[in-house]
């Protein structure tokens, strides 16, 4: 029940996340967009677990754990970048260009 709308919603959320990652320059916003994408996937898993058993829901927990760890590491990196260059604008962070 309600699988269709749930999947549609997750697709919209995921696309928003992708668009945000592609278009925004602020590292924190970008980070939030990644979270958005992860959660869109989570929503898909939960929605489909109705038909395919509980394993989808179990994976959601794993994803959340990973997302939390990622947030910790990612935010720490962004903080370090900010301390280094007083900015979180990704356009200015291009030290690794070829």
């Amino acid at each position: 029940m309600l699988i269709g709308p749930a999947l549609a919603l997750s697709a919209i959320l995921f696309s928003l996340g992708v668009a945000g990652v592609l278009l925004r320059r602020n590292a924190i916003v970008l980070f939030m967009c990644i979270e958005l994408m992860l959660n869109a996937v989570n929503l898909t898993f939960v929605a489909l677990s109705q038909q395919h058993g509980l394993s989808g829901q179990v994976i959601v927990f794993f994803v959340m754990t990973v997302a939390a760890a990622e947030a910790a590491v990612g935010l720490a990196i962004i903080l370090a970048i900010f301390r280094h260059s007083r900015s979180v604008d990704l356009q200015n962070i291009n030290l690794l260009k070829g």
Binding site: V18, L22, L90, Q91, I93, N94, L96, K97, G98
Partner: protein
């Protein structure tokens, strides 16, 4: 074959492990000598006594091993004994083992190599006494013996080829032994390069043999060839001609003989051992070893005999007008090698090997004798700080008063090489000439070869008489003060000379011809001894030796020619007003042409060396190498990869947005592929 009862017991037990042990000792001892002397040369070059003992000791022991072991190994092994040491190249159908073939032919060669080798090693102790490179010299000499033994014992073409190349290497090292003088280093290089041409022929012969017969083993090859190949066919002719190209390189035959006279730049004992007695006879040995193939290719045999006869005559004429005592002997060696090829080319394998053996004795004696003379001359000039040439015969004369032992022994060798009975050279040379004459009945070209051989024999006697007259007789031209320092060589040098003198005198007893009464000794001993090796070839293309009146006539002619040549050479030299080298007028006319060796070296230089140099410098170096390889291939590939790298680096903008963009596009693409 005769041996003591103790040996007989050994012979009964001559199974494979014993034979293997003998062969390992035979080849291993000189190798051990090389390693020890090499180590001494690096760390203790002044330990000359140790070097002498090791260097000649291993060889004398190896010679004893050969004398003790070979007869017992051959007992009951008519076809020869193949002793395999280890597998070398197991590649599909090509199974090459490092294995040694002991048969009646290789046994003769082993005895010559180790026996004459021992004497020359002993002589070297005296000759090289004050040389700073003493240990290095003996290390090289021992290494040479190792490779020479591998060459004669190798049971297949590839194993023989190792020895073949190895002796070439040692020859190179020893010719250029005093490498600090550029001429010597150049002579070594020349020998090495000219030999490469011959080796190329040997290799090609090997490839064709493998293609045609599917085997490189001598025993297998010689049993397979008569059934597989057609007599006179193109395949067997090609194989034998390429083999002979190899022989021409190694054994200094026309057109590849030019390296041998230059090889005299090395120490004199080296000339005796490598460039007279052993290595240069490897080509004769190879023809004898593959005599079945040559018997099956009458054209190739004729080429071998023809080139041999031509070389014998050609080199002998050059020898007439050389003043360097070693150069005379060098051209004489080329000439005598020509005789051997005339013999084996005619199909008289025994005669060729017989002459190989007697030549090893008397030519080693001549070279060592000349070494003894040079030693004395060098000493005299060294003591008086003179810069005259110690090898120029114009500076010698009357040396018999100062070094009588050397003079007498050199005289014996001269009579032997000139072919005066009963000296060894008479029997072997006569046998070759008779064989060539006999073959003439079948194909008349051999009559021409026989005639050339006969003229060469006269010339041989002539230049040897000239050498003796200029060196040992007449007035001494060394110089008044220098004369005081001339002296006979020490016993360590005259001793080996004495033994070689005995061998030169009695070497003919190895194979007495049938016209000698049986009371003088066993007739045709070598003929009988080598029969297991030669019978296959003789079966394909038999040779009927002349008998009765013809034989008597031939022998008489040979004796007359020898004595006539000696007499003419003696008279011609005595009547010439001889002056020391620095006062001498250069030879003019034909004599000048002979002195300049027919300008063959200059001809080769203009026709081959200079065009090659030009081609290498102008075309290959300046264009192909510098422009195509360096600029094009090397720098070009670097430039290309740098350009591609630059293109790639444009992608690495450092902008995370771009990376994500590419990532998303890629992901969408993959998704598209997977979903569809």
């Amino acid at each position: 074959m005769t041996h003591s009862p103790a040996l007989h017991a050994l012979a009964a037990a001559a199974d494979l492990p014993t034979a293997r042990l003998y062969l390992i000792a035979l080849v291993g001892l000189p190798l051990l000598g090389f390693l020890l002397n090499g180590a001494l040369a690096i760390w203790r070059p002044a330990a000359k006594n140790a070097v002498s003992v090791i260097g000649s000791g291993v060889l004398i022991v190896a010679f004893s091993v050969a004398l003790l072991g070979l007869p017992s190994m051959l007992e009951g092994a008519e076809e020869g004994l193949v002793v395999s040491l280890w597998s070398w190249m197991p590649v599909g159908p090509l199974q090459v083992n490092v294995s040694f073939l002991v048969d009646h032919l290789s046994a003769v060669m082993v005895c010559i190599v180790t026996g004459v080798g021992s004497l020359i090693h002993l002589f070297s102790i005296g000759y090289m006494k004050s040389d700073p490179g003493y240990a290095r010299y003996f290390a090289y000499l021992n290494l040479f013996i190792v490779f020479m033994l591998v060459l004669v014992l190798g049971s297949s073409m590839p194993v023989m080829f190792i020895g073949w190349e190895g002796v070439g290497l040692c020859s190179y090292l020893l010719i250029g032994f005093w490498f600090s003088e550029k001429a010597n280093a150049d002579a070594g290089k020349k020998a090495f390069l000219v030999n490469r041409i011959g080796d190329f022929g040997f290799l090609l012969a090997m490839f064709i043999t493998w293609q045609a017969l599917g085997t490189l083993d001598f025993t297998e090859l010689l049993s397979k060839a008569p059934t597989t190949l057609t007599v006179g066919g193109s395949v067997v002719t090609a194989i034998t001609l390429f083999l002979f190209l190899g022989c021409a390189g190694k054994s200094a035959q026309i057109p590849l003989y030019v390296w041998l006279p230059d090889a005299m730049a090395g120490p004199t004992p080296v000339s005796a051992l490598i460039h007279a007695a052993t290595m240069v006879t490897a080509g004769v040995y190879l023809v004898a070893r593959t005599n079945v193939l040559f018997a099956m290719a009458p054209f190739s045999s004729s080429v071998v005999a023809g080139i041999g006869a031509l070389t014998a005559l050609f080199a002998a004429t050059i020898g007439l007008r050389q003043y360097d005592i070693k150069k005379v002997l060098a051209y004489s060696t080329v000439s005598q090698l020509g005789y051997m090829f005339l013999g084996v080319g005619t199909g008289a394998i025994t005669a060729g090997v017989f002459h190989l053996a007697t030549h090893a004795f008397f030519k080693a004696l001549l070279f060592l004798g000349s070494g003894s003379v040079i030693h004395a001359m060098h000493h005299a000039y060294h003591a008086t700080h003179s810069h005259e040439d110690a090898q120029d015969m114009r500076n010698m004369g009357g040396l018999r008063r100062y070094m009588p032992v050397t003079a007498i022994l050199m005289g014996i060798a001269t009579l032997a090489i000139a072919g005066v009975p009963p000296f060894s050279g008479f029997f072997s040379k006569d046998e070759i000439l008779s064989a060539a004459f006999a073959r003439g009945a079948e194909s008349p070209a051999y009559y021409v070869y026989w005639g050339m051989g006969l003229v060469a024999a006269a010339l041989t006697a002539f230049y040897m008489a000239r050498l003796m007259a200029m060196t040992f007789f007449g007035v001494n031209r060394t110089g008044a003060t220098e004369r005081e320092h001339l002296h006979e060589a020490p016993w360590i040098m005259t001793g080996p000379l004495l033994i070689l003198g005995v061998l030169s005198l009695f070497g003919g007893w190895l194979n007495l011809p049938s016209f000698i009464p049986a009371s003088f000794g066993p007739r045709g001993f070598l003929e009988h001894w080598l029969e297991p090796v030669t019978k296959a070839g003789a079966g394909v293309h038999p040779l009927v030796m002349p008998e009765g009146q013809t034989e008597t006539m031939l022998v008489g002619l040979a004796v007359v020619i020898a004595l006539g040549g000696l007499f003419a050479g003696w008279r011609a030299t005595r009547s010439t007003a001889l002056v020391p080298a620095h006062n001498a007028i250069p030879d003019r006319g034909f004599m000048g042409v002979l002195y300049h060796k027919y300008y063959v070296d200059e001809l080769y230089d203009a026709m081959i060396v200079q065009p090659l140099l030009w081609f290498s410098t102008t075309v290959l170096w300046k264009n192909v190498d510098q422009k195509v390889v360096d600029t094009g291939a090397v720098n070009g590939s670097a430039r290309l990869s740098r350009g591609l790298g630059w293109l790639g680096s444009r992608l690495e903008s450092g902008q995370v947005g771009l990376y994500v963009m590419l990532f998303v596009v890629g992901a969408l693409y993959v998704l598209g592929v997977v979903v569809r």
